[in-house]
């Protein structure tokens, strides 16, 4: 799967989970850029992403994601 496809699917998750259709994420997006993205909703986002791509992040990975791009790289590595 291409990075752009992964990003598009993630964008849908972010809009659904954060209840805001106006959200558009890019590879450089971080929690600081989006008001509704806090430590609580982050957990929802991570778990919803795992479900969609049928993968599991480990705790070290979750702790280290700095932005959306790093999550995409991790997803890409897992789904091949």
């Amino acid at each position: 799967m291409e990075k752009t496809e992964i990003l598009a699917s993630m964008n849908k998750i972010w809009r659904d989970e954060l209840d805001n259709e106006a959200i558009t994420i890019t590879e450089s997006s971080t929690a600081n850029d989006i008001e509704e993205w806090d430590s609580l909703s982050n957990i929802q986002l991570v778990v919803a992403t795992e479900k969609l791509f049928k993968i599991r992040f480990n705790s070290a990975e979750i702790a280290q994601f700095k932005n959306v791009g790093e999550m995409i790289d991790c997803i890409k590595a897992k789904i091949g």
Partner: protein, 297 residues
Amino acid sequence: MDNILKYIEEKNPAHAAKLNSWIKNMDTDYFSESELFFARYKKFIESTGKKLEYGIDCYLKLCAQMVFERIEFIRFGKYANTSLEEVEKSIYLNPEMFEYHMHGLVFAQFLWKEQYARFNFFSKNIGNYLKPQDKYLEIGGGHALYIVEAMKKGGDANSFQLVDISPSSIQLAQGITEGLNILFLLKNIFDFSPTEKFDFITMGEVIEHVENPLSLLIKVRELLTDSGMAYITTPANAPTLDHIYLFNNATEIRDLLNEAGFEIVIEKTQYAEDVSEERAQKLKVALMYAAFVKPKK
């Protein structure tokens, strides 16, 4: 408190900012109570050759652990451990783990708003219910914050006893209450069968640690006089390694108290995060439930 927050800020600035955002609005009672309790803890921990910072490190480790527990909880919708056997393996038979957990909890009592809400509710009301000559029992007393407060507000009660199943908890409680006249018993509460009943029983954050909370509540009812009163607290949606029994909401807790033969006199609930009711339910934010209850007539 200032020093504690400063130390947390050095280690985890984001967490410190979150703590500061609610602590800055607290009243003088909060600051004097926390100073007194942390002074007790500091004296004890220094007597064991460690520093106050050791306890704060335990607290930060506990916070990090809880993030992972929460991820698992959101993934699977249940607590990671559902039997006592699993918890015994991972925590109770692992003294190092239990120790950081309990020492971390000492700090959580004042650093987490839902924990402080539970203590404040106890502190403001215990004086109305604990009468002179009463026999006071605390079950699972852990860090001893509650029994110290009960003695402060109801010092003319007849006697104070604390039962706990864990040697580390008893050691911590004894250390923190140094100089106070408390009878400590290292025992599983289910094996505790005294000849006399108690007029007041405090049992904070224990029923979620057992497989069958109803039988524990019935045990408390049996230990209580007919005119007695109990203070019971437990959380809903609060995943930690040693929580076994999942309450999904306050209604389930109230129903169980009723089933065990208790009538709720006053109660208090508090979410662990500052969110709307709707969002709290959606994100399964941890809810603290506390109540003063009495036996149903």
